[in-house]
C-alpha cells in the first residue's frame, strides 16, 4: 500500500495540464450521428420491451427504497430463542425467513443460446464469402491506419457491387483497461470505420455500429500479438434482423 505525498499534487497537476493539448485531439467528437442505429430502433426493437418513442419504458416495477425492514431482517439474539425457519431455495421462497434474494431462478430460454450461435455462424459465412477485411488499431487509439484504409477501400468496393447489403461494424478492444471504458473506445473505433466507409461513398443507412468493448475477444492470451488481434473494427454482413 503506497501513499503519494500531497506535495506531489501541484507537480502532477502541472504535468497533466501541459499534457492536455497533446491529448486533446482524442476528445474530438467521434462520429457524430447515430442515425443508422436510431432508424434500426424505430423498426420496432423497442416495442418488445414496451418502450416509448423516447426510448424509455413506461411501465416497470417501483424501485424506490424506504429502508423498511423485510422478512430477511435480523431479529436479534434471544435469551430463550424461539425457532427461526430458514429457507434457501425456490421451494422455500414463501417461507418466513427465506426472503427474495434466496429464491433465485435457474435458467430461462435455453434455446436462445443455440439460436444466437446459428445466427452468428450465418453472419460469419456471409462475411467470409464477401471477403470483408477487418481494420486493426494501435493501443488506446481509434485512428484508422493506412493499412486500415486500404482494407476499407476493398470493403467499399464489394459494397458497391452488393448494393442491398447491410454491414455491421463491431468495435473491439484488448483486455487492458476497464470493461466500461473499453465499450466507449470500441464504439469510437466502430464509428471511425463507419465514417471512413461513408467518405468512400457508402450509404449511412447501410451501415450500423455496435461496440463489444473487451467482451468478445478473438484471442485470450495476455500477449501483445493477441492484444493486437483484439483491437479491431470487425465487419460483418448482416443476415438477420
Amino acid at each position: 500500500m503506497k501513499t503519494l505525498p500531497a506535495g506531489y499534487l501541484p507537480l502532477i497537476l502541472g504535468v497533466i495540464i501541459l499534457g492536455i493539448p497533446a491529448c486533446s485531439k482524442k476528445a474530438v467528437r467521434s462520429g457524430g450521428d447515430s442515425q443508422a442505429l436510431q432508424e434500426e430502433m424505430a423498426r420496432g426493437e423497442m416495442a418488445k420491451g414496451g418502450a416509448t418513442k423516447e426510448g424509455t419504458n413506461s411501465s416497470f416495477p417501483d424501485t424506490s427504497f424506504s429502508g423498511r425492514e423485510d422478512s430477511n431482517s435480523l431479529r436479534g439474539l434471544d435469551r430463550n430463542p424461539s425457532e427461526e425457519r430458514l429457507g434457501g431455495n425456490a421451494a422455500n421462497a414463501g417461507t418466513p425467513g427465506g426472503g427474495h434474494t434466496n429464491a433465485l431462478i435457474a435458467k430461462a430460454d435455453s434455446g436462445a443460446a443455440a439460436r444466437q450461435l446459428a445466427e452468428i455462424r450465418a453472419e460469419q459465412v456471409a462475411s467470409v464469402a464477401a471477403g470483408l477485411r477487418d481494420v486493426f488499431f494501435t493501443y488506446d487509439s481509434f485512428s484508422i491506419t493506412d493499412e486500415g484504409r486500404h482494407a476499407l477501400s476493398g470493403n467499399a468496393e464489394w459494397a458497391r457491387s452488393n448494393s442491398y447489403a447491410q454491414l455491421k461494424i463491431e468495435g473491439h478492444c484488448d483486455e487492458r483497461g476497464t470493461s466500461a471504458y473499453n465499450l466507449v473506445l470500441g464504439e469510437k473505433r466502430a464509428k471511425a470505420v463507419r465514417n471512413y466507409l461513408v467518405e468512400l461513398g457508402m450509404a449511412p443507412t447501410h451501415l450500423s455500429v455496435v461496440s463489444y468493448g473487451k467482451e468478445r475477444p478473438f484471442c485470450t492470451e495476455h500477449t501483445e500479438s493477441c492484444y493486437s488481434q483484439n483491437r479491431r473494427g470487425h465487419l460483418v454482413v448482416k443476415t438477420g434482423k
Binding site: 503506497k2 430502433m41 426493437e45 426510448g55 411501465s59 455496435v210
Partner: protein, 446 residues
C-alpha cells in the same frame, strides 16, 4: 462520514456490554474503519455435532461445516478478532446453556465474547430438518446474552452460519453484517456472458440469464429485488434491462440506440443514472423511475460514463476523458458543479463511491501500465493504491459495510473475482471455476 453515537469498542469491553443491552444494541453505531478501532476478541468454542449430523452431501459433519463457515464469516466481519481457544489452552466441552468454568480462563486471556452451539437433524421431525442452536457469552457482563435456534433443510446449513454471524455483528455494532449479502456478476458460458448471483463468499452460484449473448455490468436495486444491467438485444443494439431475482421477469428500461451502459439506481431507488451515446457520444443521463422523465446530465464532446452515486444521492462520481485519458470527475446529481477528482496518472476509471461516503474506489493505471485498484477521498486529499503486481483489475464494488471491495482481476490468468479489505489486506479469491468471471456487484445488506 457519520458520527452518530459512536461508541468505542474498548468502552464496550471495559465498562461492560451491559450498557449496550440496556440502551438497545440497534442504537449503537460502531465505526470499524476508524483508525482507533480495535477488533473485539471472539472465541468459537465449537458447534457440536449432534445425532444425525452426518452430512448427506459430504464427509464433514454438519456442525463442523457450520463452524467453519461461522469462523470465516467472523474473520471477514472485521468487527471481531477470531481467537483460537485451544491454542490458549482453553478447552470447552459439553456446553449447555450455562456459563462454563473455562469462560473465566478465557476472560483472563482477553477474550471478550465466546460463541458455541450444536447442530443435528431435529429428532421427531418428519421432514428431517436440520436444527442449529447458537449461544453468545459476553465477558463484560459475565452472562449468556442470548442465542438463536435455526431450523431448515440441510441445504441451508451455510445460511444458518451466515445469519448467526450477522446477528453477532448486529449485537456488537448495530449494523446488519455482510455474511448474508450476495454478489451479482458476469460469467462466460461458451461464447456468451450471462448474469449470475452467488453468496458473498463465492458459494452457491446461480444463473439468472440464458440469452446466449452478452449481458454486462449488473447493479443491485437498493431493495435487493432487482438487478439493472446492459443487454445486447439481437446482438446489435444495447439496451438497459432490469431483472427480478425472485421470478426472472425482465423489463427494458432504456432502448435508445447507441451505447447504453453502466446503469445504476440511486440509493433511494428513485433515479437510474446511466451512460448513453444515442445523441452522438457517451453522455450521462438520469431516468426518473416514477415519471419516466429523462434528464441529460452531461454535455461534452468527450465520453462520460460509469456514474456512481454518493450515499446521500446528492452527488455522482463518473469517468470522463474530457481532459485526455479517462479521469474521475464529481458532479451534483442535477449535472451541475462538475469538477475533476483524480490527477495522478493518465488513466483512472470505474469509480465506486463507498456506502460510508468516505472513499471512492476506482481503477488506476500505474506507471508500469498495470491496471490496479486505488481509493481516493471525495475531497481528493488522500489516495492509496490497494493492489499491486500483474493482471488487469476492474469493476470495484463495495461491501455494504464499507470495509471490503470485490473486483475482477486477471492476476491468475483468466478473469476471476476477488475481495480485499479497504486497507489493502486480506486479498481473497472467491471464484475458482469457469473461463471468465467479471463485473461483480455487491448487494446491499438486509
Amino acid at each position: 462520514m457519520t458520527f452518530r453515537a459512536v461508541v468505542f469498542v474498548s468502552l464496550c469491553v471495559s465498562i461492560g456490554a451491559a450498557w449496550i443491552i440496556e440502551s438497545g444494541a440497534a442504537d449503537v453505531f460502531l465505526e470499524a474503519t476508524r483508525p482507533d478501532f480495535r477488533k473485539i476478541p471472539l472465541g468459537i468454542a465449537g458447534i457440536e455435532n449432534m445425532s444425525g449430523s452426518e452430512s448427506p452431501e459430504g464427509r464433514v459433519k454438519l456442525g463442523t461445516r457450520i463452524e467453519d463457515v461461522l469462523k470465516a464469516d467472523v474473520r471477514r466481519s472485521l468487527v471481531f478478532a477470531l481467537v483460537d481457544l485451544p491454542s490458549l489452552g482453553i478447552k470447552v466441552s459439553h456446553l449447555g446453556v450455562e456459563p462454563d468454568a473455562s469462560f473465566k480462563q478465557a476472560a483472563e486471556n482477553g477474550v471478550s465474547v465466546i460463541v458455541w452451539g450444536k447442530a443435528g437433524i431435529k429428532s421427531g421431525s418428519k421432514d428431517a430438518d436440520l436444527s442449529m442452536d447458537g449461544y453468545v457469552y459476553d465477558v463484560g457482563s459475565n452472562e449468556i446474552v442470548g442465542g438463536k435456534r435455526y431450523i431448515g433443510s440441510t441445504s441451508v446449513a451455510r445460511l444458518m452460519a451466515h445469519r448467526f454471524a450477522d446477528e453477532l455483528v448486529f449485537r456488537y455494532t448495530g449494523e446488519p453484517g455482510i455474511a448474508r449479502t450476495k454478489i451479482a456478476y458476469v460469467s462466460e458460458l461458451g461464447t456468451a456472458r450471462e448474469l449470475f448471483v452467488m453468496d458473498y463468499d463465492g458459494y452457491d452460484p446461480r444463473q439468472l440469464t440464458a440469452d446466449g449473448f452478452l449481458n454486462l455490468m449488473p447493479r443491485w436495486s437498493p431493495d435487493r429485488r432487482f438487478l439493472v444491467f446492459t443487454t445486447y438485444r439481437n446482438r446489435n443494439t444495447q439496451d438497459i434491462d432490469m431483472i427480478e431475482l425472485a421470478t426472472g421477469k425482465r423489463w427494458t428500461l432504456v432502448a435508445q440506440g447507441g451505447l447504453n451502459i453502466t446503469p445504476v439506481l440511486s440509493p433511494d431507488g428513485n433515479s437510474l443514472a446511466y451512460a448513453s451515446s444515442h445523441e452522438g457520444n457517451a453522455e450521462l443521463y438520469r431516468l426518473d423511475t416514477h415519471t419516466k422523465a429523462v434528464k441529460r446530465l452531461t454535455t461534452h464532446a468527450a465520453g462520460d460514463l460509469s456514474p456512481s452515486w454518493s450515499p446521500s444521492g446528492r452527488e455522482l462520481a463518473f469517468t470522463s476523458d474530457r481532459s485526455g485519458g479517462p479521469q474521475i470527475f464529481l458532479m451534483s446529481a442535477d449535472g451541475s458543479n462538475v469538477r475533476r477528482l483524480t490527477f495522478d496518472g493518465d488513466y483512472n476509471a470505474a469509480p465506486a463511491w463507498s456506502p460510508r461516503g468516505n472513499w471512492i474506489a476506482y481503477v488506476c493505471r500505474t506507471p508500469k501500465k498495470e491496471y490496479k485498484l486505488c481509493v481516493i477521498t471525495p475531497d481528493g486529499q488522500k489516495h492509496l493504491q490497494l493492489t499491486t503486481g500483474l493482471g488487469v483489475d476492474d469493476s470495484p464494488s463495495w461491501s455494504p459495510d464499507g470495509r471490503h471491495l470485490v473486483f475482477s482481476s486477471t492476476v491468475d490468468g483468466k478473469s476471476q473475482i476477488y475481495m480485499i479489505n479497504v486497507d489493502g489486506k486480506d486479498l481473497e479469491r472467491i471464484t475458482f471455476t469457469g473461463t471468465h468471471n467479471s463485473a461483480p456487484s455487491w448487494s446491499p445488506a438486509s
